[in-house]
């Protein structure tokens, strides 16, 4: 038990938290942008999975991790756009369309992996590359903080930067104002001449790209290969985290960190205490359910308070 505490309060543990938080935070930000425009992007899970595989394949093909990332992002943007097409043009229910994309991604990635590598499980036979880790100048020399922040994967820095960028996008730019208006009252937006569908297309595309970052991180940073079903529900956790964070980028950061801690904790406990592996694996998802329950309860209270005014 003592050793577990020692691990949790070590800088290495927090280094790990940031690493684990990265894909969840990407997913959460992706959920935030989409839901702010009024589209519930349940396809995040599938988009991440597709991007994870695309990144692996193209990084091997071009022998460049960067080109792998680029194609992963393009694939994510396209799938986001495709969701927009299904929902906005063909008037499909967003949930059903999202589920369809997720199922397609789950089966499709295995199929593609098999064609290319002859393996249905992992891409270890593909010579894919990994995005670099990055020492932060100056900060790396500060004790503790240096250990936590420095030498993270480049995408971990990107995701922290994305929090700020998405915050500015939503609250400081005309596009963000339009996204928020469209999501909250599309009639009002339309009545002042805003092209509602155009804004929503832009938002789901951004959402797809953000999710793709998360997917690429999983197969080109977190691990160095693709394995089937490797997103393990992170897209859904992102949706939950978005709801709990009140659909704001700052909220997304805080809630994602919470999930990241739960996830890392799982890893630590696994090594420290004799608990069945499967139970430990449940930890992030239990955190999600408990978190959502607390969130919706407090929201209910809030609404009751507002109503009684």
């Amino acid at each position: 038990m003592q050793s577990v505490f020692n691990i949790i309060f070590s800088p290495d543990f927090f280094y790990d938290v940031l690493r684990v938080t990265t894909p969840i935070l990407f997913a959460t930000l992706a959920a935030t942008v989409a839901s702010r425009s009024g589209i519930f992007n349940i396809a995040l899970e599938g988009i991440m999975l597709i991007a994870a595989l695309v990144g692996v394949i193209f990084s091997a093909y071009f022998s460049s991790a960067w080109l792998g990332l680029l194609f992963a992002l393009i694939s994510g943007g396209l799938v986001g756009l495709f969701l927009g097409f299904l929902v906005l043009k063909l008037k499909t229910d967003a949930i059903l369309a999202g589920i369809a994309i997720n199922l397609m991604a789950a089966g499709g990635t295995i199929f593609l992996l098999y064609i290319i590598s002859g393996d249905r499980g992992v891409s270890s036979s593909i010579k894919s590359l990994v995005l670099p880790k990055f020492p932060l100048p100056v900060i790396k020399n500060i004790p503790i903080i240096g250990t936590i922040l420095s030498m993270q994967n480049i995408l971990t820095y990107v995701v922290l930067l994305s929090v700020i960028v998405i915050h500015i996008l939503l609250y400081k730019t005309p596009l963000g104002l339009k996204i928020r208006a469209v999501g909250e009252n599309p009639n009002a937006a339309e009545s002042v001449g805003i092209n509602v569908h155009k804004i929503q297309y832009i938002a789901v595309t951004i959402s797809g790209i953000l999710a793709a970052f998360g997917g690429a991180f999983l197969s080109m940073g977190y691990l160095s290969m693709f394995s089937n079903g490797m997103t393990a529900g992170r897209g859904f956790i992102g949706l939950a985290a978005d709801a709990m964070g009140g659909s704001t980028p700052i909220g997304a950061l805080l809630v994602s960190l919470l999930f990241g801690i739960a996830d890392s904790m799982g890893n630590v406990i696994q090594t420290g205490i004799k608990i069945p592996y499967e139970i430990v694996q449940m930890l992030p998802y239990i955190t999600t359910i408990v978190g959502l329950a607390i969130f919706s309860y407090s929201k209910k209270k809030q609404i009751e308070k507002l109503k009684s005014k």
């Binding site: 963000g176 104002l177 009252n185 002042v192 009684s308």
Partner: protein, 516 residues
């Protein structure tokens, strides 16, 4: 004719369902006038304005703006042509500030990429000051009262350069004070050369503020007049095509035994404020008890108690000597208590369901229309058709969804359902609000008919004419209490009633509210 700013010529609009909403309508507006557009619900006013604002595209006809033919195919093009519209349901984004709502879609920028919020607040503030609108443009819209929200809507249109402003029933949501303020501002807008189209049912308001008026009926233009040239009676005749009886010749009530007893009822809202304070009254068979009062003085809370919607009250409500709390909503309805709710779209009907389903929503259990497991659709269809005939519901068939009907006809569907069970007690909350004169008159007549058959009626209404016309006894509610009771309604004057409504006078004894 240089002062004509806009002409709509020969507008023909047929909806996909075959309803001819506008039948070759002509309308011309002079620059700087306030022009009323009035007509019954379903007369085609809204459609005509939707055509002007580019929401609907007409089959035929042309729009001539300042002597030039224009084609308006979207709200965006209407705005570009200097036409603004203030919708009845506000087109605002609640979580944004007033300034953000005003500049939405035409945001000032800085560095090409970012919203220049300082500039936005400045321009919003400037335009508010220019038109003497006293609002805080930094406030979030969701925190603003209705009257201010409407001002934000008007400013939104003005900021986009609207010269012609369409106001769709702007006073329906306002308090009398807010209405007064709105009128002052509309007159100022007029002085600055703006042209205003004012859609309304309220003849007194039109008389007060409009220069000219156009009357529509059944999709046709029944004529444009200078306001001072027509009397209220003429207008209402043109609107409904017959003389509306402003006075009912109802017979004197012949009340029998007491069926509804309310004793010492109080209720608090969720904030703990006393909304109904120790109220007691009786209603007997064959009489109408009217409850007058400025809205929000506890009338809705009282109705919720009587109909079983709220059980968290103190005191006793006895319906045919049975405690209402023990009965529950179903039990109360089983005793033939009918309820015409104030908000017909939320509590009165299911708008996406058809007329038949709505009419039977309180009678599915009746063995006339249902065997043990299956509904008897033939019997229901026959009955629905009977009700459509009896209540003069204007529709294509009972299969039409209620949401497609006009407000007056929706209310008739609600009334048909509530009255078709053969009610012994009717609780009617604002039964004719916001509906056309013809439908309102019809519903009032029905209420009297049921009274004459021995039904007890509680009528809550903000329409003074209505409570005067219908009530056999009249109580005034003020701050959750009865401030006055009148058993001789004919002798009561409006001025006198007003004093009780505003709390200037209070009757402590309340004689005649209880029968012992």
């Amino acid at each position: 004719m240089s002062d004509i700013i806009l002409e709509m010529k020969d507008i023909l609009k047929i909806y996909p369902n075959g309803i001819v909403a506008n039948e070759h309508i002509n309308l011309s507006l002079k620059k700087g006038e306030i022009h009323a557009l009035l007509g019954e619900n379903g007369a085609g006013k809204s459609t005509l304005m939707k055509v002007l604002f580019g929401i609907e595209i007409p089959e035929e006809g042309e729009i001539i703006l300042k002597g030039k033919r224009v084609y308006i195919k979207s709200p965006h093009e209407a705005i570009a042509n200097g036409i603004g519209m203030v919708h009845q349901h506000f087109m605002l984004v609640p979580s944004l500030t007033a300034a953000e709502n005003i500049i939405l879609g035409v945001e000032p920028r800085k560095f090409g990429l970012f919203t220049n919020m300082e500039k936005a607040i400045e321009v919003a503030d400037n335009i508010a000051k220019m038109y003497n609108f006293d609002i805080d443009v930094r406030a979030k819209v969701e925190t603003l009262p209705v009257g201010i929200k409407q001002k934000v809507e008007i400013l939104k249109a003005l900021y986009r350069g609207a010269e012609i402003l369409i106001l769709d029933e702007p006073t329906a949501v306002l308090t009398p004070q807010e209405t007064e303020e709105l009128f002052i501002q509309l007159n100022k807008l007029k002085e600055k050369g703006h042209t205003i189209i004012f859609i309304s049912h309220k003849l007194d308001e039109i008389k007060l503020i409009c220069d000219r008026l156009t009357i529509m009926r059944n999709g046709k233009n029944k004529g444009t007049y200078k306001t001072e040239d027509v009397t209220t009676e003429e207008i209402s005749r043109l609107m409904v095509g017959r003389d509306v009886f402003l006075e009912f010749d109802k017979e004197k009530a012949n009340p029998k035994k007491t069926v509804l007893k309310v004793r010492d009822v109080s209720v608090k809202n969720k904030l703990g404020n006393l909304k109904v304070n120790n109220i007691s009254f009786d209603i007997r068979e064959g009489e109408i008890l009217g409850i007058a009062g400025v809205e929000g003085n506890g009338q809705n809370e009282l109705v919720d108690i009587l109909t079983g919607l709220n059980e968290n009250y103190t005191g006793n409500v006895l319906i045919f000597n049975k405690e209402a709390k023990e009965l529950g909503i179903k039990g109360i309805r089983d005793l033939k208590v009918s309820h015409i709710p104030e908000d017909r779209m939320t509590y009165g009907c299911a708008k996406d369901m058809d007329i038949l389903q709505n009419v039977f929503s309180n009678q599915y259990g009746d063995e006339k229309y249902s065997s043990k497991y299956l509904l008897k659709s033939k019997a229901m269809e026959t009955r629905a058709e009977e009700l459509i005939d009896e209540f003069l519901i204007k529709c294509n068939s009972f299969k039409q969804s209620v949401g497609m009907l006009s407000g007056g006809n929706i209310q008739k569907v609600v009334v048909a359902r509530e009255f078709s069970v053969g009610p012994k007690i009717i609780v009617a909350n604002q039964p004719t609000r916001g509906i056309d004169v013809g439908a309102a008159e019809f519903i009032r007549k029905k209420i009297i008919e049921f009274r004459d058959q021995g039904c007890a009626v509680l009528l809550v209404s903000a329409d003074l004419n209505e409570v005067f016309e219908l009530s056999d006894r009249l109580a005034v509610m003020y701050k959750g209490e009865f401030s006055g009771v009148f058993t001789n309604v004919e002798e009561l004057t409006e001025e006198e009633l007003g004093k009780y409504m505003l709390g200037l006078k209070k009757d402590e004894k309340l004689e005649g509210i209880i029968y012992e």
